[in-house]
């Protein structure tokens, strides 16, 4: 099916998320939509998907105009969407998830599970998407869940498939498998819209590339005619430094010492399995790896948030294993959490209040149990200026800030304390390029001021740019550490997929 978008515009109050977007995707084509976080890609896809209605513009399928008033219409028209955050129900089986909304029923509305199972098996075979119809979705790996999402779309006879940032949660290996599936779907005549901000992937898989920035289409091109530098420039609107300028590290004393760390996660599984490493002041140790391999639990273990910890964690020689978060904070550990809205900020608190979220009970912010608001506000003003936080005043609720500014509040709070160790988990997820550059700069300057930085990141580019040493985390175990520059990108990718590499076997560096 041929897909054409004409002048799609979508506004949210004052914000114009999509601004007169034109796009054409032919039948049997993989069309990549490239843009940085916040550019308007997902909004556009939600318009296509029927979740939003465009304020202006038209959608044409096979040159016939269509109107979607809800997702059901879009599905019936042959559009299948695989969302960035999976729309799957963990407590249902694969078959139930695939069936939902499109149930196979026998008389009286009773579910016909046998028919559903047969259909799923048939689709699996046809496109190489191995899934077990009776498995509980919550127990599947991320890659498998993604396959379920694709089967779900295909089960409704989707002719246009939209994949929203599908590789964000995949290992390089799984990404290759996904690309194979995409090619097979393409040869069956389907149109694939592939949304991403990753330049390398776009060049590897797409037939055509459309770049969007700040809601507008900047241009359309094909991989043969362009390269990373040019695409990046189109995405961001200026020359982009793909590397971060940083001086060589000067490591000092050991700040964080982990030995035989084990962490059991909320569902009872062993998420961290015997992890040991040292981290010194003045260096950045990056933990690379696809999300879901225990990084979250590792971060929890070294900040006091894990509930069941085995092994030892020592901060500057003091054993803090299993201590409460407060003890870690007092020991000089700064935490920049993965989920800033849930864990890092109180959305309804003002910026000033958020800036003292973990130090409100220490001098000078409070004396004898009573808060000193004058000092708190004065300090807040200083920080806002120092960290370039864009807001109407220090009294606005944090939830009204953009993601980049929210992260700046957290960074401002954590880096302004007397800290020995920074644990930064996915610190630039969902941020625009400007904020990413800012956060990277701050981490490097904290390192130069003598702090130890534990960077946990699923973004290979970020790891390569910032790390002084690299470890790779896979299924709860660490491989490495390796000095930065001693591994190629491909090698790290393989390690992230659990495949051993020569150097790892030699156990280089410590």
């Amino acid at each position: 099916m041929r897909l054409r978008l004409n002048g799609i515009t979508k506004r949210f109050g004052d914000l114009v998320a999509n601004d007169r977007i034109d796009l054409v995707a032919e039948e049997g084509e993989i069309h990549a939509l490239l843009g940085e976080n916040g550019a308007g890609k997902t909004t556009l896809m939600n318009v296509l998907d029927g979740l939003y209605q465009p304020d202006e513009g038209a959608i044409n399928l096979d040159d016939k105009p269509v109107r979607f008033s809800d997702p059901g219409d879009a599905i019936r028209a042959g559009i299948g969407m695989v969302h960035q955050n999976f729309m799957l129900i963990p407590t249902f089986t694969v078959a139930e998830n695939v069936m939902l909304g499109f149930e196979r029923t026998s008389r009286f509305g009773f579910l016909d599970r046998r028919r559903a199972r047969a259909e799923i098996e048939e689709l699996s075979k046809r496109f190489g998407l191995e899934v077990d119809p009776d498995a509980m979705v919550g127990e599947l790996s991320v890659g498998q869940q993604q396959r379920v999402e694709i089967v779900k779309a295909l089960a409704r006879d989707a002719q246009v498939l939209i994949l929203d940032e599908p590789t964000a949660v995949l290992t390089p290996q799984e990404t290759e498998e996904l690309f194979a599936v995409m090619r097979s779907l393409r040869s069956s005549g389907r149109t694939i819209l592939f949304i991403t901000h990753k330049l390398k992937e776009v060049l590897a898989i797409a037939d055509r590339i459309t770049v969007i920035r700040l809601g507008k289409v900047i241009g359309t091109t094909i991989p043969e005619k362009t390269g990373e530098q040019e695409l990046a420039a189109m995405m961001v609107g200026r020359g982009v430094e793909l590397q971060v300028a940083k001086a060589p590290a000067k490591p000092g004393e050991v700040v964080l010492e982990a030995r035989g760390l084990t962490v059991v996660d909320a569902s009872g599984a062993l998420a961290v399995d015997g992890v040991s490493f040292d981290l010194r002041s003045g260096e950045i140790l990056a933990v690379a790896g696809v999300q879901g391999n225990g990084q979250t639990e590792l971060a929890a273990a070294v900040t006091g948030l894990a509930l069941e910890v085995g092994g030892t964690v020592k901060i500057q020689g003091r054993d803090l294993t299993g201590e409460v978060p407060k003890a870690f904070l007092r020991a000089g550990v700064a935490n920049v959490p993965e989920d800033r809205i849930k864990d890092g900020l109180v959305g309804d608190f003002s910026i000033a209040e958020n800036l003292v979220l973990d130090v409100y009970d220490e001098a000078p912010y409070s004396r004898g149990g009573a808060l000193d608001w004058k000092t708190i506000h004065a300090t807040a003003e200083k920080r806002v200026a120092e960290f370039d936080i864009r807001a109407a005043s220090i009294h606005v609720p944090a939830k009204t800030l953009s993601g980049g500014n929210q992260q700046k509040v957290i960074v401002a709070r954590e880096l302004s304390r007397d800290i020995k160790l920074i644990v930064a988990a996915q610190p630039t997820r969902g941020l625009d390029v400007g904020s990413i550059e800012y956060v990277h700069g701050r981490l490097v300057s904290a390192r130069d001021a003598g702090a130890a930085v534990l960077l946990i990141s699923a973004e290979l580019d970020e790891v390569l740019a910032l790390a002084d040493r690299i470890v790779v985390m896979y299924r709860g175990r660490l491989v490495g550490p390796f000095p930065a520059g001693s591994l190629t990108r491909e090698e790290i990718g393989l390690l992230m997929a659990g495949i051993h590499v020569e150097k790892a076997a030699k156990g280089v560096g410590m």
Binding site: D49, L51, D70, P71, G72, D73, I75, M81, H83, N85, F86, M87, L88, I89, P90, T91, F92, E96, M99, L100, G101, F102, E103, T105, F108, G109, F110, L111, V137, G138, E139, L140, S141, V142, G143, Q145, K152, V169, T262, V264, D265, A266, S267, G268, A269, L270, A271, D273, V290, Q291, G292, N293, G294, T296, L307, E338, D339, K342, R475, G476
Partner: protein
């Protein structure tokens, strides 16, 4: 289980994406399980000790009689239990269960064993309490079932709402309003069926109000529920004072539904009078229970409802109308609660009295949680709470040396224990209590 653990949940697509992590180290898991087994086993031993205590200080000739016959059932002979021997026997059985629990290799049936232990303790307690007298066990069972009817219907109501993602604290209010309307209409029209239908509709109306406030206007669901309860108390007592009391005979004296005996089946000993000689409310409860159980887990309707309760956005993206599903379920839940409320008046006492539901709406919620948001589980929990309620009647008849006030506390204390003991380990529907809008 601390407050923190009870709040954790592995959510899909909300930031914590899980690869299939390595299975928990076999040793670690074994240790945790063994610990659990041991503590349950010790609990069984504690129960055995209590049973042995019952044996103390009794003359060797002391005996209790259990009567198991009632109504049209074929009469069973009375069971004479020599007190000391019975208690010792039961105590030994319970202790053996404790030993078995500790020695057993697996943790399966761990709750079943505890349940059996509790049941044995219950029997031992009855034997002790009824020392030298006759205990009407069949009557106790029948009363338990009758007490469990509104609790079951209330729990089913809560379930219907929460499975779709809406918390219904207004069950108490729905009970009150439908009890009132049932009595009023049944009395005024002389037609009990009219009373039942109107009572059910009254409950549905309260459900509709809850739905409008919670689903369309995004008000906090717990607040709306509690306020609706206060509203119901105020409204029903207001009209009780101003309209019913001056016109007692005409408006507050409905007759009560007679039991509907099912011939032949109701002559089966023990089970007969229990299940086949009851009034319409018991039969309705069984029907509704079956309908909800089958509906929720085997039909398209149920799949969609559960999807809306777990992940409304996912349901939305496949074209399900989340708000409509929620509205339907909340109103349906109100109707079911309405039937339960009507049972207070036209199903048992006849007259409406001030605040006559005495917190049973809240106990029904506890039964729902205790039953892990499943219909059959809720039934089990409701039967348990109904039993504690019925127990206090039996005990007061038996002149047990416990003040009546403490007996009345029984069901409430039992609820607290149940909720405290279990809640950390159960998971409500993931989107329970959350407002959903497409933005």
């Amino acid at each position: 289980m601390s407050a923190e653990k009870s709040g954790k949940r592995a959510a899909l697509g909300s930031g914590s994406r899980k690869d299939s992590a390595a299975p928990i180290q076999p040793e670690l898991r074994r240790n945790l399980e063994a610990l659990r087994r041991r503590s349950f086993g010790i609990a069984l031993f504690a129960l055995a000790v209590i049973i042995f205590y019952f044996a103390f200080g009794n003359a060797p000739s002391a005996a209790t009689v259990f009567s198991l016959s009632a109504g049209p059932a074929i009469a069973l002979p009375l069971i004479h239990l020599p007190l000391v021997a019975t208690e010792i026997f039961l105590g030994i059985v319970c202790a053996l269960l404790g030993v078995a629990q500790i020695l057993w290799r697996t943790n399966r049936r761990i709750y079943l064993l505890l349940g059996i232990g509790l049941a044995i303790t219950g029997v031992a307690f009855l034997a002790w309490a009824g020392k030298g007298q006759s205990v009407d066990v069949e009557g106790l069972l029948i009363t338990s079932l009758i007490e469990a009817v509104p609790l079951t219907l209330g729990a089913l109501s809560g379930l219907l709402c929460e499975r779709a993602g809406v918390i219904n604290i207004a069950i108490e209010g729905q009970f009150l309003v439908s009890a009132f309307v049932g009595a009023l209409v049944g009395s005024a029209t002389g037609n009990l069926w009219a009373g039942l239908v109107c009572g059910a509709l009254a409950g549905g109306l309260i459900g509709l109000i809850l739905a409008v406030f919670a689903i369309t206007y995004a008000a906090d669901q717990i607040i709306v529920g509690v306020v609706l309860d206060a509203f119901a108390v105020g409204l029903t007592s207001f009209f009780l004072q101003s309209v019913l009391v001056p016109n007692q005979a005409a408006l507050n004296s409905p007759t009560v539904f007679d039991p509907i005996p099912i011939p032949l089946l109701n002559r089966i000993p023990i089970v007969g009078p229990l299940l086949f000689n009851q009034n319409i409310f018991v039969y309705l409860t069984i029907l509704i229970l079956a309908a909800v159980q089958i509906g929720l887990f085997h039909t398209r309707w149920g799949l969609r409802v559960r999807a809306v309760g777990e992940h409304p956005r996912a349901a939305d993206t496949v074209g399900i109308n989340v708000k409509a599903v929620r509205y339907r379920n909340v109103v349906l839940g109100g109707i079911v609660a309405g039937i339960g409320g009507a049972s207070f008046t036209i199903g048992s006492t006849g007259q409406f009295a001030y605040n006559m539901t005495a917190g049973l709406g809240y106990i029904a919620l506890a039964a729902m949680i205790f039953g892990r948001w499943r219909p059959l589980g809720a039934l089990g929990a409701a039967l348990l709470f109904g039993f504690t309620d019925a127990l206090q009647f039996t005990l007061s008849v038996l002149n047990v040396p416990i003040p009546s006030s403490f007996l009345t506390m029984f069901p409430y204390l039992a609820t607290i224990l149940a909720v405290a003991g279990l809640v950390g380990r159960v998971l409500p529907p993931a989107a329970d209590g959350q407002y959903y809008a497409r933005e």
